[in-house]
């Protein structure tokens, strides 16, 4: 599903070079659930941006779904992005639109016919448990609910890959847990899920693979399901 091969990303400024990622090798299988853990500044954001095609790596190759995205033509980028769903810490919902409209908007701007949108939007909003709050604007929803709208939006295209950037960063702990459960449920039907986060506690509670990034390198990878001891060893490095 996702392959990083000797990926290095260097940000160049006028008289300075900043190595954000160095020689990253990572393989994520179809249908896996992976936490990417790291402090702020560890290189998580860069890792994410490479997958979202917002940045290109300096060296190495990134492959998603069998497609080498490092050498993807600009005009093909939108079609690549439609194959993945994204969830962000700040939800990125349009405040003037209702939950329904927010999801429908994402489908409309990717050229999906109205009929299909009318069928699909209530369905995905039902999946995340917001079937009865479709006509509320973000302001009238709690943080957790807003994030679920964002998740519904990400699911609207039936992507094979969901990438979540600090999905629980702006919501309270109980809601965070629910959010993770939801992602886990989505994963259980075969969708690959990558959650980028710095929240150790949350990672603790799920028995999933954890890839830890620090100073631009992968310092541990529990390819085996996560164990608390495993994390402790990784953190000690």
């Amino acid at each position: 599903m996702i392959d990083f091969e000797h990926v290095t990303k260097v940000y160049e400024t006028k008289n300075d070079e900043n190595v954000a990622l160095e020689d990253i090798n990572l393989h994520i299988e179809d249908g896996e659930f992976v936490f990417v853990l790291g402090h702020s500044g560890a290189g998580k954001s860069t890792f994410l941006k490479l997958m979202l095609l917002e940045e290109k790596c300096t060296e190495g190759t990134v492959t998603i779904n069998g497609q080498d995205i490092t050498h993807l033509k600009r005009r093909k980028v939108p079609y690549m992005r439609r194959q993945m769903g994204m969830v962000f810490q700040d939800f990125r919902l349009i405040p003037t639109m209702t939950a329904y409209e927010n999801v429908a908007f994402a489908m409309r701007v990717t050229n999906i016919p109205t009929k299909q949108i009318q069928k699909r939007v209530p369905y995905v909003l039902g999946l995340v448990g917001l079937g009865d709050k479709m006509d509320r604007v973000p302001e009238e929803l709690s943080g957790g609910e807003q994030q679920r709208v964002a998740l519904a939006r990400a699911l609207a295209h039936s992507p094979k890959l969901i990438i979540a950037d600090e999905p629980t960063g702006n919501i309270d702990p109980e809601m965070s847990f629910e959010m993770m459960e939801l992602l886990s449920a989505i994963n259980s039907v075969g969708v690959t899920v990558v959650v980028v986060t710095h929240a150790h506690e949350l990672v603790h509670r799920f028995n999933k693979r954890v890839v830890t990034i620090d100073h631009g390198r992968i310092v541990s990878d529990t390819a085996e399901p996560y164990r608390e001891t495993g994390y402790a060893t990784a953190g000690a490095e």
Partner: protein, 301 residues
């Protein structure tokens, strides 16, 4: 693109026009004013051009033939002059006609007239009118080559003046049109830039969910081009209406100078389609370019 997507995008563009009422109004206003000025410059140019052309048509080159030519030689010269493609009209003036012309002016000098009547000193000549004054020098050279022609009097200085006036007027008008076109483009570009800025969050989301650049741009094009076309419609009405009134006034209030230039302006019927089509094309192209240049920056997400 699906039809439902297309209508959605058009609706989005029109909605944005309404949502930014003040901005739209301001930019359309400036655009309309620019177009009106462009129209005025154009019509001014057309009329000055027509006046100069009218003056040019009054040109007259006088060609003298030798006085000892036989009938056949005169006929041959006559035919040669008439055969020239640059020539619009040729009038033969016999010595007797010249004398007749001057006899009106010489009524006081009866003696002189009497002497002339017995021995006419005037030569036969041709009054030649050229189609295009700018060719005068070349054509008079050609006329000189005709067998039997002794002298060619061409108002070269006058023709040069006409030609240079025409050139200056053309350059000034086109220059003005170009400057105003650029101004309008900047105005549209700026308005769209503000709209784009106001919607940068939406654009960011569109990019992330995989909307193509074309899809993101489309509503802005609808917005830009619609305001361009509305401005074109208003400007067309203003310019054509105003021009119609000016032509009426001009013919009803003749002056010495206006009579010299033919007495009437170019009628609206023969220029209105240039004005309207020009404005529509201008609105379309300027707004298109203005929109394209203003969105590019925000598409790099």
């Amino acid at each position: 693109m699906h039809f439902s997507s297309f209508t959605y995008l058009v609706r989005q563009g029109l909605h944005s026009l309404r949502a930014n009422k003040m901005m739209t109004f301001a930019s359309m206003g400036v655009l309309t004013v620019c177009m009106v000025l462009i129209g005025v410059a154009f019509l001014l140019g057309v009329n000055i051009d027509a006046m100069v052309a009218y003056m040019g048509e009054q040109n007259e080159t006088v060609v003298y033939l030798a006085s000892d030519l036989s009938e056949e030689q005169i006929a041959a010269a006559d035919a040669a002059i008439r055969a020239m493609p640059e020539v619009v009209s040729v009038t033969y003036v016999s010595p007797a006609e010249v004398l007749q012309f001057y006899s009106d002016k010489l009524v006081d000098s009866v003696n002189l007239m009497k002497a002339f009547e017995n021995d006419n000193p005037f030569e036969a000549n041709y009054r030649v009118v050229l189609r295009d004054v700018s060719q005068m020098a070349a054509v008079s050279e050609k006329l000189r080559q005709v067998e039997g022609v002794t002298k060619v009097l061409a108002p070269l200085e006058l023709s040069n003046t006409f030609v240079s006036i025409q050139r200056v007027v053309n350059i000034a008008c086109y220059g003005l049109v170009a400057v105003l076109a650029i101004v309008s483009m900047v105005v549209v570009s700026n308005t769209i830039r503000i709209t784009v800025f106001a919607r940068r969050k939406e654009i960011g989301i569109m990019k992330l969910v995989g909307a193509t650049n074309g899809f993101i741009r489309f509503p802005f094009f609808v917005e830009g081009v619609t305001s361009g076309l509305i401005a074109a419609a208003v400007a067309s009405g203003a310019v054509c209406g105003g021009y119609y009134l000016v032509t009426l006034w001009y013919t009803e209030n003749p002056t010495t100078i206006s009579r010299l230039f033919g007495g009437s302006l170019v009628p609206l019927q023969s220029v209105w389609y240039y004005v309207v089509l020009g404005f529509v094309a201008l609105g379309f192209v300027l707004c298109g370019i203005g929109t394209a240049t203003s969105i590019r920056k925000h598409l790099d997400v």
